[in-house]
Assembly symmetry: none
Homo-oligomer: 223 residues x 2
């Protein structure tokens, strides 16, 4: 379960990260408003913890922009301000919950879980490319209607590809986003791409020599 923490105070950001990772989440950190927005945009996160006071773009702006773009990712806002007004503002902007700092980690975790639970009831739409279909709600992959068994890692890799069609993704990027720890050999990626090709056919993932991989040629698009 992948989370994004947008928080400019480095110490706090890392404390949060440490705690959340201990509780089984993967956590990425963004230190500024714009970088947080950018990270949230590409849909890789189950939820976003968002500070209000941020350099570049306020938390309000970030969530407002996300909602304007129809991005439904759950957002939990954190603020040092304590006016009731601020809280209302935050929720009006489209945040799912709003906590006032200082807040104990346990309370935060509880709210986070609540937000996630609430959000899980609304089914995310299935991703597809040609004959391949991946349904995040059911956590299932089908090829031309027939279910295909996937290991967790294979599933995560395929999901990343499906979330970034129309673009080359580099091996290092995949290592960084699908595998959390970075000190791995990029050969790992090659191996898993090989697994996917074996299960889904050789054409789904295209190799772009020297650059990375890309979802299969547009010949299949539209099917």
């Amino acid at each position: 379960m992948r989370l994004l923490v947008v928080e400019d105070e480095v110490r706090l950001a890392h404390a949060l990260r440490r705690g959340l990772m201990a509780d089984g989440f993967s956590v990425d950190i963004a230190l500024t408003g714009p970088s947080g927005l950018q990270a949230a945009r590409d849909g890789a996160y189950e939820a976003v913890l968002l500070d209000v006071m941020l350099p570049g773009l306020s938390g309000y702006d970030v969530v407002r922009t996300l909602r304007a773009e129809d991005n439904p990712v759950p957002v939990l806002m954190l603020s040092a301000k304590d006016g009731v007004h601020d809280q209302a503002d935050g929720l009006d902007c489209g945040a799912d919950d709003y906590l006032v700092k200082p807040v104990s980690y346990v309370v935060l975790l509880a709210h986070l879980r609540a937000v996630l639970r609430r959000h899980h009831d609304t089914r995310p739409p299935a991703l597809s490319w040609g004959d391949v279909r991946l349904d995040p709600a059911v956590h299932e992959v089908t090829l031309a209607g027939a279910p295909v068994a996937m290991t967790p890692r294979e599933y995560a890799l395929l999901e990343f590809f499906l979330r970034h069609p129309d673009r080359v993704v580099t091996k290092v990027e995949l290592l960084d986003r699908v595998w959390d720890l970075g000190d791995r050999d990029t050969n790992t990626v090659e191996v898993y791409v090989g697994y996917l090709r074996r299960k889904l056919g050789p054409d789904v993932i295209e190799t772009v020599r020297g650059a990375g991989y890309r979802l299969g040629g547009s010949a299949i698009v539209g099917t």
Copy 2:
């Protein structure tokens, strides 16, 4: 993709360079503030990694100067200091991101990519000249709509031409920018220009005898 590393600690600078080159970047190093500023000024870099503590001119000064000169190059600051204050200062000066040393290479790379991505405005626009189109996002070249297979080197060369239309580029410049190592024969360039002509037609790249090459005569422009 060309980067500038401004770092006075030679060992670290070279370690960075090695890592980044392994990930496909070209890397130049500047060891002092003033030389870093000078190098950054001529706009040859996609991004700048900038240490804060530098001889001659601090990282803050460098980025401030660049911004004062309306230079939009993405800057990622690196600092040994860990005060929140310092980070805020860095961002205030106009840096795009700010990391506190020690930082793992992977994290640095992730931030670097994020900065680059953000700066490219989510989707770098496709480059084109006449019938030739090169889409950096998809890493694909088409000629009158039909895809053309390119080797990495051919692709890099074509991209360089398309990024510098309206101007003669010398072979030495190409050797320096498309091929990293400088001790190559300029004949290599001629060979690759030949490859491109074979794939894209003889008129795309024009020879300027004694000077270098130039994108094909304006006859095709506007098509």
